[in-house]
Symmetry: C2
Subunit: 408 residues, 2 copies
């Protein structure tokens, strides 16, 4: 029997208990031994809940119990999760987590401690919720050199953008509705401004490229400025607006960014709707691949956490995760990265197109039936720096959204 | 240094050599040791090719060389691949393969031999080409009980159906074009009649459900009877026709089938086009997930084979694949499985709808502008047996295609 402890009996923690109870016999079979939850750490008590008999309020009870081989950290936030995780690893206990803040900030260090002790620090649930992506990156895509990861990594923003596209509503209205449905937090900033997606792409990039990508270095732009008018243009062009977290290797340099992007129907990310997430990966021999599923939610996230528990149970004295050096990967500024840009300007093509073409070259106007006094156009491929210079030289630009594929 | 041997220098075999050469340093880093190809077994010689110095014609050279720790079997077909694989495993050499015929037929036995010897028999490339699906099923989705796997598992048929949908062409014309482009074999039967997809779903089902699913037991229907008229109806209904390989657990029983199916736009499989493959998985706690990528092709397939080589190099004396018992899983007859059916009949709604509704209930006619003398309709949910009885009682049915989702 393998004794485990769960830190935090919130949404994910109670999901972990539920998953282990629900699929007890198949999980034990796959782990090779019975998995038993001995302790649940929480500040609260849960009288009447069967979990109450396992509740402890003091982490040291868990730390000092030599029977505990695996610690499931699902508290969220950097502290005290970081201190508890480090102590557990130093005491020779494997740890798994859904905590993206902690992994993005201290993943390399915690992995190194685990490796030195022949134990494991796993974090499948930290990116993409239930979608298997960390383990495939670590143990399936090993024949490839990964040159691109592009993810729809935040369910809240994807839900909002999908609703805006389907109903033509404005951002603020859909956000309010999403908050009422529980799909968005009361304080939605971390989601809608792209910070959550930023941490996740930092983790995925660090793993794929083998070196520490600091999330503070990643250019991040959220969806709060996307309007119903932008959505109308996207529709007129047959495209969808998605919040994409991108990390690419171009000519030996790496860049990463989070921003709204126009995606066309030939792209597998185009039809990833609602609260679903997906991670597109390009390998130099594999070509395109994509992993799709529930990016959040109690049970899908718990499914990924418990899969890590099973993997740690199978590898109690063997380190299986690797290739994330604490040596920092220097990202290049995005200003040298190239793409097309969709731009909105005031006026009508009749009066303004000549001026637009003088600055942006031979672009074609995009006009939307019920949007007056403005029009849009898609530029040729250019760098961010070139776009910025042209936009400044042009004068007032009503809005700009990047375009994902050169061919779109 | 880990010495390996490659059996067969055809498309996949030469791809394996190319991938190992191309990504040599990153592969060695991930394997933890240098991977070196010592032998390539082929009946032919390749004068002038750098591979020539590694070519051997006699398998016993490989079998009797104790330096060889990993054998890559990419010959295809059951014999002599089966004999070579069994001998290699019995001699304590791990084997990996892209050979779906062999894995579908003898996978359970070969896995058992590998497990007894603490070595590995891996076959990531046997299903879905480069898409990581075997390893995720084996080591990522371990917290779940899988109750559905539905795959677009054959690139040739998906290419043909996509072209038919885009160009409105007939099956025979697109097949001819696909053959000229090298996307279809001169003898296309294994692909277009669904036999290839059938073997792959047998492998995936055996792994997901833990017991041997015999491919001979799987109801299999190909795409050769799909016409340009069927495609017109699908378009009129906003759907795509896909060749789906399905395996489901319903009320404790399992059934599996391969057939053309109508898929609606809310389904993640809807936009899997061209030669791409995808595998949809439903777990009881994870919910929906999908794995997408290149289902065939020299380098994507070789990418999956080489990832197996890396995994075997990491686990030279440790069995990592499991949960496929040779005990047979009895599939239930599909006649009790339920769905909606799209049906085409002669006549016009004006003259025939009353007769149709008498047999099939209150269905609504689907009429396509330039298709005369017939119309279609979608039934309510019913079992295959009920549908069959109704169709027989009705009389002449021009065509029937199953519908994937109850809601579509």
């Amino acid at each position: 029997m393998i004794q485990i402890a769960v830190l935090g009996y919130g949404t994910v923690g109670s999901g972990v208990v539920e998953v282990i109870n629900t699929n007890h016999s198949s999980i034990n079979k796959k782990a090779g031994e019975e998995i038993n939850i001995k302790y649940v750490l929480d500040l609260r008590d849960f009288p009447g809940d069967p979990i109450q008999e396992k509740i402890v309020h003091d982490f040291d009870v868990i730390l000092n119990d030599p029977e505990i081989k695996i610690v499931v950290e699902v508290m969220g936030g950097v502290e005290p999760a970081y201190t508890f995780t480090k102590k557990a690893l130093l005491a020779g206990k494997s740890v798994c987590t859904s905590n993206k803040e902690l992994v993005a900030r201290h993943g390399a260090e915690l992995l190194e401690i685990a490796r030195e002790r022949n134990i494991n620090y796993l974090f499948e649930a930290s990116c993409g919720g239930g979608i298997p992506i960390i383990r495939p990156l670590n143990s399936s895509l090993t024949a490839d050199e990964i040159d691109e990861i592009t993810g729809i990594l935040n369910g809240t923003t994807n839900y909002i953008l999908t609703e805006m596209a389907e109903k033509g509503s404005d951002f603020a209205d859909v956000l309010k509705e999403a908050q009422n449905l529980g799909y968005a937090e009361r304080n939605p900033e971390a989601d809608v401004e792209g910070y959550d997606a930023c941490r996740k792409i930092a983790i995925l990039s660090s793993l794929a490229f083998g070196r520490q990508v600091d999330y503070e270095d990643i250019y991040t732009e959220g969806i709060s400025k996307i309007t119903a008018t932008d959505i109308k243009y996207a529709k007129a062009m047959g495209q969808m607006i998605k919040l994409l977290a991108v990390s690419r290797k171009v000519d030996g340099s790496f860049y990463a960014m989070v921003s709204p992007v126009l995606v066309g129907p030939s792209d597998p990310l185009y039809s990833v709707n609602g609260v679903f997430n997906a991670i597109f990966v390009h390998g130099n021999v594999l070509g395109d691949a994509m992993f799709y599923g529930s990016g959040a939610g109690k049970l899908p996230t718990a499914s990924a956490v418990v899969a890590d528990v099973v993997d740690e149970a199978r590898h109690l004295n063997r380190s299986i995760m690797a290739f994330w050096s604490s040596k920092k990967l220097e990202l290049t500024d995005i200003s040298n990265s190239s793409r097309k840009f969709f731009v909105r300007v005031k006026g009508t093509p009749e009066t303004e197109l000549a001026k637009v073409q003088e600055v942006f070259g031979n672009v074609q106007p995009v006009v939307v039936a019920d949007v007056d006094g403005e029009f849009g156009f898609v530029t040729e491929v250019m760098t961010e720096a070139e776009y910025k210079a042209k936009a400044e030289s042009f004068g007032e630009v009503l809005g700009m959204i990047r375009v994902r594929r050169v061919e779109d």
